[in-house]
């Protein structure tokens, strides 16, 4: 099961610091999270980038990950 870790800002919505999910791709992840944590809406999550095992994926729509992945949602990095 992949582990999703929430930063302090998301923890407020999620109500927990982390949880394990059955999902193995981004779309399944969104569905699972918004179902299990109703406060964590699509609106909160979709503007964010997904970090998969330390790799920042700015557009994660098609991203897959392994069953033992560690996942984080972070703000998208702006350009300079």
């Amino acid at each position: 099961m992949a582990l999703v870790c929430f930063n302090a800002s998301l923890e407020k919505h999620a109500g927990c610091a982390n949880l394990t999910v059955a999902a193995q791709n981004y779309r399944a992840l969104l569905e699972e999270l918004t179902q299990r944590l109703p406060q964590l809406t699509q609106e909160v999550l979709t503007p964010l980038a997904l970090v998969i095992d330390g790799e920042i994926v700015q557009e994660p729509f098609l991203a897959d990950f392994s069953a033992d992945a560690e996942l984080h949602f972070i703000e998208k990095i702006a350009a300079g």
Binding site: C5, N7, E43, D53, E59, E70, H72, I74, I77, A79
Partner: protein, 750 residues
């Protein structure tokens, strides 16, 4: 990724393909295009920092025979409709529209109110007098303290602070709060032997690109309209203008001219939509240019900031806790780089207990834009100053102190992920053995050192490589070349194809000739567009093999392609790339390769800078006497341009630390909107900038590249600040370290 790989072209110092045109004056920049029948646009700007527009009357202008078109906010009738379609970007689009033209309220000195087109630039400027505006002047909010005070005038009646523990109930000038944490901050401080706690502030500064914003536009009802402009992202200009004007993307073609510097400041639109409205109304091509004053007053500067930093460590040098409260000015509309500021502030350190809180604050100043590593210089300045002070307190060398706590592979960052392989330790070691750090510190000189971290990004890039029948070719990319990236693209393609770099001509195509490319920024171009170039070249190699196989009547698997030559593995035959191209018509037509990618795996770049500064105790004048910039490039494709990024970033940071700042009157009028009074560094202000390239490869890139463009501006602020503090024997907490401020500190000490 093998580190010992031998390259033929990569790592060489080739002559850039666009160089000839640039040294001879042939290269065309934003203001260099004129068209037959072209007229000129000019903008009326607010003389006030904060005011309601009681009346905006253009009737006198309308009646003048000199005036060919007028534009105001009313000409964005579709903004709301377009915004609906764009869902979550609604607010953002509305803000962009209200920044381009004030909507009932002006929010900063220089805010655009209306525009006029006339036959000459002088006539357009003169006609602005025919527009009558009545203002009801409001008290301006000019800094963070004023903005967050209980009785502050509110800039936006509908703005509620996002991210508070309890949902906000009242309008505020604070648009958002962000909180990041790791470990137990209280326990961390309890375990500390020594604690440093200080407040720091940095001023509003400008990117200071030498080329002002400019554009030439032709509206076309029966085909795509054309926008010519200097931008870091012409595809995003197209998208923005399309949204604002309610047009389809295919109805606009944006041509990226050569760009005279951007540094993040040319990532949005100011003049382009206005010129398009004027062109539509007048039926003529329209050209617009910002004056230097307009650039300062009305294009995006970088956020002013206030930071409070608290750091605790044990006597053995182990940092036990780091805490920051960061405030960023966003300018007139929300959206400062507070987020990345919070995420980067402590990333150079592997520390168990961290707590960061950030606030995005609106004030009556121009809306900020990105500036090299947006958000990071401000917060990391504060953190690095405090780290240096703490090192001194416990009697440790600043490099040793950092090495003891340095972030490395596996370090858990405060924003979430664990770091992959990074080069901070390598940079610190390089600093330790550098000639500069080992040189004695001269008399009356202070030395400072600081580190910096920036993520770097990947993102979307599209590239086409077309080969000609004689084996030469064209690399068609869509990333505006802001500092020599065309040279890198040429070298990377040449490396894969085994040809001379000069046989491949790289061009930055307009929005019609190549698919979408994300804006040049975030240090992404050599990384992501480079990756697309490599993929497109590899696509070609596969085709070359197939074509050679067809000539020899073997299968493609029986063909090897190395150094530009195909070899028949089941015979003696050889064909060069040029020979295969020459016979392409027989083997299925001409050859081109293509790649459309959304690059992942950008590798962070760390830097360490060392600075020596001499202070004249009589006048407070500072002199940078020696400077060294050390940074991890992953792999330097073209070392000269990598060094150039280090040096340019360092000098912008030096300017930020020593001289640059927006000066406002109490009414919010910017008083130094020119290069005479807003003083960027001159050749005579500086010594040589020694650049040391560290290469810790990024395993996600075919050649190991990490972006290098941004990190270099981060360390100078604290390296300079610390050097000045050492030179005068007083703590520095406020930038810039301008002579009057230093004199004051010196006097206070006596």
């Amino acid at each position: 990724m093998s580190e010992a790989r031998e390259f033929k072209h990569i790592g060489q110092r080739t002559i850039r393909p666009d160089g000839f045109d640039k040294v001879t004056g042939k290269a065309n920049y934003g203001a260099d295009l004129s068209l037959p029948g072209m007229i000129w646009g000019a903008i009326l700007r607010s003389p006030h920092a904060h005011a309601n527009i009681k009346k905006l009357d253009v009737s006198r202008a309308q009646a003048s025979p000199d005036v060919l078109a007028i534009a105001t906010f009313e000409d964005f009738p579709s903004v709301n409709a377009a915004a609906q379609r764009n869902g979550s970007q609604r607010k953002d689009l509305m803000d962009t529209a209200c920044n381009i033209f004030a909507n009932q309220k002006v929010l900063y000195h220089g805010h655009a109110v209306a525009a006029i087109a006339a036959r000459s630039q002088a006539a357009a400027i003169a006609a602005l007098d025919l527009i009558d505006v009545e203002y009801e002047v409001l008290t301006p909010v000019l800094n963070i303290n004023d903005a967050i005070s209980a009785d502050a005038p509110i800039l936006h009646e509908t703005m509620m602070t996002q991210g508070l523990a309890e949902p906000a109930t009242e309008a505020s000038n604070v648009s958002a709060r962000m909180e990041l944490k790791k470990g137990d901050i209280e326990a961390g401080f309890a375990a500390a032997d020594v604690i440093v706690e200080r407040a720091y502030d940095t001023p509003t500064v400008h990117q200071g690109y030498i080329e002002p914003h400019a554009t030439t536009v032709v509206f076309n009802d029966n085909g795509p309209s054309m926008i010519w402009c200097p931008t870091q992202g012409h595809f995003d200009v197209r998208a923005r203008v399309a949204q604002l004007m309610n047009l389809e993307l295919g109805q606009i073609k944006v041509v990226a001219s050569e760009i005279g510097g951007g540094f993040g400041g040319k990532t949005t639109v100011y003049l382009e939509p206005v010129a398009l409205i004027l062109s539509k109304k007048s039926g003529r091509p329209v050209k617009m240019e910002m004056s230097r004053g307009d650039v300062f007053r009305a294009s995006g500067p970088a956020s002013a900031s206030q930071s409070r930093i608290k750091i605790g460590a044990k006597m053995d040098g182990t940092i036990t806790a780091m805490q920051a409260t960061l405030h960023y000015e966003a300018g007139a509309f929300q959206g400062s780089p507070m987020g990345p500021g919070c995420m980067t502030v402590f990333t150079p350190y592997d520390v168990e207990n961290l707590y960061v809180e950030g606030f995005d604050v609106v004030v009556n100043k121009p809306k900020v834009a990105a500036y090299r590593a947006p958000g990071a210089p401000q917060s990391e300045f504060a953190a690095e100053m405090a780290v240096n002070e703490l090192a001194k307190k416990i009697g440790m060398d600043p490099i040793e102190f950092r090495l003891k706590n340095a972030a490395k592979e596996g370090t858990q960052t405060i924003y979430g992920p664990k770091l992959k392989v990074v080069g901070l330790v390598a940079c610190l070691e390089a600093a330790k053995s550098s000639p500069h750090y080992n040189a004695p510190i001269p008399e009356n000189v202070g030395r400072g050192l600081a580190a910096g971290f920036w993520f770097n990004i990947g993102g979307q890039s599209s590239v086409i490589i077309n080969l000609n029948p004689d084996g030469t070719g064209t690399i068609i990319e869509g990333s505006p070349d802001i500092g020599g990236s065309r040279a890198s693209m040429q070298m990377m393609a040449a490396e894969i194809l085994g040809v001379a770099p000069s046989s491949l001509n790289p061009i930055v195509a307009d929005t019609e000739h190549v698919a979408y490319n994300q804006t040049t920024g975030g240090s992404r171009t050599t990384f992501a567009t480079g990756m697309a170039v490599v993929e497109a070249a590899e696509d070609i190699v596969e085709q070359l093999k197939a074509r050679a196989a067809a000539m020899w009547n073997v299968t493609a698997e029986q063909v090897d392609f190395t150094d530009g030559v195909a070899h028949n593995l089941s015979g003696e035959d050889q064909l060069t790339l040029a020979e295969i191209c020459a016979s392409a018509e027989k083997t299925g037509g001409q050859i081109s390769g293509r790649a459309n990618i959304n690059a992942r795996g950008a590798g962070p770049s760390f830097a360490v800078h060392i600075c020596d500064i001499k202070v004249d105790k009589e006048t407070g004048k500072t002199d940078v006497v020696r400077y060294t910039a050390i940074q991890d490039a992953g792999k330097a494709i073209h070392p000269s341009y990598v060094e150039g990024q280090f040096q340019g970033g360092a000098v912008q940071g030096i300017g930020w630390a020593l001289n640059e700042e927006y000066v406002y009157s109490k009414d919010g009028i910017m008083e130094n909107a020119g290069f005479l009074d807003y003083r960027i560094p001159l050749a005579s202000d500086l010594p040589e900038i020694e650049a040391i390239i560290v290469e810790v490869p990024n395993s996600f890139h075919p050649f190991g590249v990490r972006g290098v463009g941004e990190t270099g501006i981060i360390p100078p602020l604290a390296a300079v600040g610390t050097a000045v503090a050492e030179a005068i024997g007083q703590p520095i907490s406020s930038l810039p370290c301008s002579p009057p401020k230093i004199l004051k500190l010196l006097m206070a000490a006596h």
